[in-house]
Structure formats: C-alpha cells, structure tokens
C-alpha cells in the first residue's frame, strides 16, 4: 500500500509541475504582460529561452518517467535478491556522448545573440561612423534614482574621442531628467551607463535588457526598441536599503528630437518670459533653420 503511494507520489509531482508550467502563460505568470519583447534582440533571447525550455522539458519528462518506472519495478520486485549489476559500459558511453552533444549545441547556438548584444566591435573607433550619433543619453544610477543626461539637441559626434569628452564632464547645453529615459522608436539607441555611488543594474524587463553599472566605469549598451510606449525600469543589483524603490520608466517615442526640444524649453524656462510651450515651438523652428 505505502509502496504504491510513494510511487504515485514521485510520479505525481512532476506532472503537477508540468501542468503548472503549461498554464503559466494563461495565468500571466510568464514574461511581463505575457507579451514578446519590445526589442528584436529580446525576441531572439525569448526564442533561445523557449529552445532551452523544450530541451529541458524533454529531459525532465524523460528522467521522471524513467524514475517512476524503475521505482515501480523495484518496489514490486518479488525476487529474493536485487539485480547484481555494477553498470553497463555501453550505457555510460551513450549517456555521456548524447548529452555532451546536446549541451555543446546549446552552448554554440547561443553565441551569436551574445555577440550581437555585447561583443561585436561596436565600430565607434572609426571616424564618422554612422553609429556615433546613436548616442542618446548617459544614465547615472545612484541611491536610489536614475539621472539621465542627454546631449544638447543638435549635437553631432564625429569621433569616439568626442563622446569620451562629453562623458567626462557635463556640457553647457546638456539636458537632464530623473527616472524617465526617452529613447527613439525603431532606431538603434546607444546609452552609457555610470554609477554615481555603489553598484546598480539597469534592467528593463519588457526589453530584456540588463547591464550592471559599475562605479568608475562607463559601460555602453545598445538596443533598438520597436514598440512605442512606457516600460518599467528597475534596478537589478543590490544597492542599499532602497534597492526596491529605484523605479524608473523608459519611453520609446517616434519624435525623439521633438522631445529634446520640449525638454530644452522646459529646462530654459525662467518663469517670466513666454510659457514653456511657446518656447518649445520657437525652439523647434530655430533648430530647423540652423
């Protein structure tokens, strides 16, 4: 009786686990909002996730079925003694080589996405690289907020050195926001990540983007957002008692330069002259004529 119970017990819980996993997306226990990523690279990350999930599920079901079977057989064994066997060389070879192949495949198959995400030379060293002007902002993480610095509207970077100079110290025309980062829609965005005090991590779950901000380092990250809207920005590296409340927002908008103009108008507003809205309007025309 108790044998049957325990055999069923060890058979039942993996089934329950699989059922819970299968219903997860419907219960909204999956990726944020149960939606695909807001960046193309994020979609590839999701694909890799599901690929590993498939392999892992097959391996899990396989081992659990075998476990249930051997338990069942061993519990019903009516022989006087167990099977006197010290193993099988052939089986060892098989279950070494087959998983090794699968694992190696997983490892090699992942390389490409990582290469695009981080490794491939970002090509800023060349003069007039078109990517130089993908620079959108510098994000400084500090306890417990995100400070964002945009270059002055119309700034053109001609070399990596100019970027480094800009990063090294604040410039007169820079624009600032706190906890709210705007990025252009459908255009590659380059961000430099800094820490003002301790270690933080820039994490936008809906975009599948995560990078630690290390004190003393400028770390560049790049991504393309292809869905307009607001995304939650959180901190993923313990940074003190207020770690949980480092809440920010990333907004992807079509008219990014318009946003910068508006921000400039707000920042330049001295409280007595024309209203911020009007300055924004004139500022925009000036920009066009220049």
């Amino acid at each position: 009786m108790s044998r049957i119970f325990w055999c069923l017990f060890f058979t039942a819980w993996p089934i329950l686990g699989i059922v819970v996993s299968v219903i997860s997306p419907q219960m909204n226990w999956g990726f944020p909002d149960n939606r695909e990523s807001a960046t193309p690279l994020g979609e590839r990350i999701d694909d890799l996730f599901y690929l590993i999930l498939c392999i892992v599920t097959i391996a899990f079901i396989g081992t659990m079925v075998v476990l249930a079977y051997v338990l069942w057989k061993a519990s019903k064994n009516e022989d006087e003694k167990g099977w006197f066997s010290h193993g099988s060389h052939n089986l060892e070879v098989i279950w070494t080589i087959v998983p090794a192949g699968i694992l190696l495949f997983i490892a090699l198959y992942q390389m490409d996405v990582w290469a695009i995400y981080r490794v491939r030379d970002y090509d800023l060293k060349q003069q007039n690289s078109p990517r130089l002007n993908n620079l959108v902002a510098e994000v400084i993480a500090r306890q417990f907020e995100w400070r964002i610095r945009y270059p002055a509207p119309g700034t053109v970077f001609k070399s990596k050195k100019q970027i480094d100079d800009w990063l090294a110290k604040p410039q007169a025309g820079d624009l600032y926001t706190v906890n709210h980062l705007h990025v252009p829609l459908n255009k590659e965005t380059l961000i430099y990540l800094k820490s003002g005090d301790v270690q933080h991590s820039f994490f936008v779950p809906e975009m599948r983007v995560k990078q630690d901000a290390i004190p003393g380092q400028n770390i560049d990250i790049w991504f393309t957002v292809n869905r307009a809207g607001d995304f939650d920005l959180t901190c993923a590296e313990l940074c003190g008692w207020g770690h949980y409340k480092m809440r920010g927002r990333v907004t992807a908008i079509e008219d990014f330069s318009g946003f910068l103009q508006k921000l400039k108008a707000e920042q330049d507003f001295d409280g007595i002259s024309k209203s911020a809205g009007e300055i924004a309007a004139t500022g925009q025309t000036q920009e066009v004529t220049r």
Partner: protein, 615 residues
Amino acid sequence: MSTQNPADAVQVNSDGTVAQHADHHGHPELTFLQKYIFSTDHKVIGVQFLLTTLLMLLVGGSLALGVRWQLAWPWQSMPFFGQRFAAEGGQISPEFYTMLFTMHATVMIFLVIIPVLAGAFGNFLIPLMIGADDMAFPRLNMLSYWFMWPAIICFGMSMHFGGGPAGGWTSYPLLTALPEAAPGSGVAQTFWLLAVTFIGVSSMMGSVNYLTTIINMRAPGMTLFRMPLTIWGMFITAILQAFALPVLTAAGFMLVFDRGLAGLSGDIHTCFFTPSEIVVNNAAPTVGGGQPLLWQHLFWFYSHPAVYIMLLPAMGMVSDMLATMCRKPIFGYKPMAYSMAAIAGLGFIVWGHHMYTSGMNPALGMTFMTSTIMIALPSAIKTFNWLGTIWGGKIRFNTVTLNCIAFVSLFVVGGLSGLFMAAVPVDIYIHDTYFIVAHFHYVLFGATLFGVFGAIFFWFPKMFGRMMNERLGKLHFFLTFLGANGAFFPMHMLGVAGMPRRYADPYIHPYLEHLMPMNQFMTVSAIVMGLAQLLLIGNWIYSIFWGPKVGRNPWNANGLEWVAPSPPPHGNFEEVPTVYRGPYEYSSPLVEGRDFLPQTEVLAPSASADTDDDH
C-alpha cells in the same frame, strides 16, 4: 546481520599498517568536559557539528520566514517575531529586510550546509568508513569545531550592531567597502567579514585534516577504488576547499583593509576595490584607483567551487544510501567517482557565469558559458547512474529512501534550470531575478538538504545506537517535500515574470503587482516547511533517548562503519578491519541467504578470487 570476526582478517592480510593502528586501546578515563565538550574524538565532534548546524538551520529558516512574510504581506506587522525584531510596530523596515536576506543566505551557507556536510558527516564518517581509529589530527579537528563559535558570535554581533549587514551574502563593494553606503555597511559589515574569515579558518582546518586522513589512514585493503562514494565526495570537497578558500580569505582581508583597517581608523585604508571620486551619501569623495569587479572575481572564484562543496558530499552520501536501500551495487561506480572529479575540476573555471551582466570583458562570457554548460554533463551522468542504481533493485521505502529519491528528483530540476542561466543571452534577462533563486534553492534545499535529512536518518543508529522514528520521519519528509516545492517551484515563474531578487516590496512596480497572490501561496508553503523541521528536531532528540536500540548493522549494509559497534567507542574498531572488496556488493550471488556482503568479510578462497570487483 552477521559480522565476522575482524581478528581473522588481520591475520590474513596484515601488511605493517596494522601494528600502527592496533595501539589505541586502553584509553585513560576522560572527564565529562574532555569527553563531550572539548573532545578530540571525531564522532563527538561530528555530533557537535550536527547539533550546531541543526540549531542554525532553525535560525536560518526563521530569517527566511521573515523574508517570505514581507514578500507576501509587505509592511504588515509580523506575527510572533514582530515584537522581538523590528523597530516600529512589528514592521519589517527596508534595511531590516536587507539584513534578513543577507543573514538567511549567510547562515544557511556558512553555518548550515557547509558545516553539516563536511563538519558533521565528514567528521563522523571519514574515519569510520575508511577503517581508521580517528582523524589524522584530532586536536586540529577539535579546533575546527571551536572556530565556528567565534564566527557565530561575530555574525550575531553583526546582526545586532549597526542594523545588520546590508550587502547580501555576496557583499559586493562599494556597498560593503564604504561604511557610509548603507545603514548596515558600518561596523556590521566588519563583523560579518570577520565571521566569514573565522568560518574559513574552521573549514580549512577541517579540509587539511580530511585530506590527510583519507590519503594516509585507510585500513589495509581499502584502495582508492574501494572507497565508498561518500568518501570520494568528502575527498574531492576537501581538495576544493583547500584550493579555493585562501582566495576568499585574502579577498575578505582586502575588503577589511579597504574599509579602513577594520574600522579602527577611516583615514588609513587601502583601495583595492574603491575607484576614485565616488560620493556616497554626501561623504567625502573617495580616492584611489581600485576596481569593484576585482571583488566579484575573487569572491566567485571561491564561491562557485563552494556550490560544489555544498553538493558533492551529499551526492556521495545519497549514492551510498540508495545502493543500500535498493539492495544493489551502485550503477557505474567509477563513472560516479570520475564525474565528481570532473564537476570539481570544471567548478574552478566557471565562476564568471555569475558575472555575465557585470561589465567584465564580454568575450569572457562565451568562455564561461561553454565551461558552465559542460558542467551539466557530469551532473547528468550522475543522475543517470542513480536511476540505474534503482533499476532492478529491491527497494525499501523507508525515510532514508524517500529523502534520497527526493534528492535525485529535485536535483534534476535544479540542474536543468541551471542551463537557462548558463546560456549568456538568456541570463541577461533572468540574472538576479527569482529564477536564480529558484535554481539554487532546488540545488541547495531540494538536493543537498534532502540528502542530509536522509543521512541523518541513515547514520543515526551508528551515532547513538538507536533508530529514529519512521512514522515521524515520513511525515517530516512528506510535509517538507510539499512545502519545499510549493515555496520554490513558483519562483521559476516569478523569475520569468521579471521579479528581481532582494526587493523589499516588488509590488510598487506595476508589472509585478499581479504576482502577490502567488507570493502569498509560497509563503504559506514556506511556513509549512519551516514547521515541519520541528518534527525532525523533535524526532532526533526523542530518538536519542527513547528510540529502539539496534545492533551494529541495522540496515544490512556493507560499509566499514557497520562493522564497528553502535555507537562506536573511542578508537572505533575493536580490531583494525581489513578490506576485501568494494562497499557495494549487495545481492551478490557469492553468498547464500542474505543480500549483502560486508567489505571485511572473508569468503572461501575459491570464491574470493572472483570478488575483487572494482568495476
């Protein structure tokens, strides 16, 4: 249940080592203090370690329940512990919450899992299983236990002064290097680092001792490939510890120096990890050109092998228990031993997988990904061999067996979920989310602790000469298994939903709001699991005094420890045992009427020619 007379064995196979071992009889009368407190007997030290770690298990579990309470019902006043701990209204404040998860991890890793495996079972089992009378260095062994107490005291000081350590168990600088960085980064952090150093000293003394003992003090005939897999696990663990620990100790001292010579003077300090011109909480800007990433490399160079320190001995013990309870030789003994060695070897070159998103050179991510994914291979081989061991066995469903099967079955989950994190691109997303929390709880609780529970039941008769209560044991297993899966399985979902770890209140982020009911379910499961441990402690204490008495070999097992009396006297064996075969000759056709063949048993010459079976 026959044990043959080992005296015959000595005559058959004496080879010089016998004389050296035989002189430990006629010990002088010991006082109570010498016998039970400052004992140099490895068995007493093992039991001392076991008692201490069980106590610390309750402490670490209570801290975890504090964490779970806050995640399920944030900012609600906490029942029971509320009046004792939290400052205002029984609420858990954010800084108290950081202390809770920091100390939960610290206590569980440094005061429960590492010492219960190496300290308690390593101490108790190594001399018994290899047929030695004691450890090579009994006094060092005693010192290794007593060095735990300064560590425990320092951890206690750390919790009570300055708000408790706030850096997480990983203690990444600058949060931990600059005393102004957080409420707990002052004196609490210094005490924490001191405590970890004490624990390191304790572990190091243990590992040197285990290595020497296993290499030099094996009984006649106990070749390396006749050692039980438990001993292989302990042996490889001791090597890991001996090589990895100095790095952590050095890193700890570097951090202490960075903090201003242990807090004596903030003006005199080094800058290993502190870059210049960092301003924390309006303190003066820092000087010096240190690099915070250096700590992460040094820390994980120890702490990744430490993960295997926390697993390999349990793997070994489960192998022994499964073979005994399935009445079958272990399936693939040598592959089992080799894969443990492979795990240990690869374990030294995978530390960077904790740092994929840290900003280290990204090309390193590819190297570490390949080595990390390949470490799944020896783990898979071990799992298949455990299944092979059950295959065709004649299984006994007792508490030991149940815990061992739980070990195998939950280790599969923990191992497979590791693949997601090993893959760098996927890890970008799930790094530092609850997915990783799910993964290491399945390995450390699901595998290691279930292995330990099994081992407690299995070797209890040898420790105290009595059996533990089966009915209570099964109930404990049932509740713990349900509670553990209820608490840890949903963590996978939380991780995929993007919930970061170490958040005092995740629900202020809109995309996490809907996960509160799931967290409440997990907390209820965790409470069930926590309460179930009282059954274990109760059963343990009850059985020491009132459990049914047993003889030398209650499980009909083959290992040398079952030749000694239960409990074994000081010096362990009446005569030095001689070993004729490996420890897994269950259901051997060479003997009639019983399904076990102890390592020391002499068979008739015609038969014994065939029994030397190392394969």
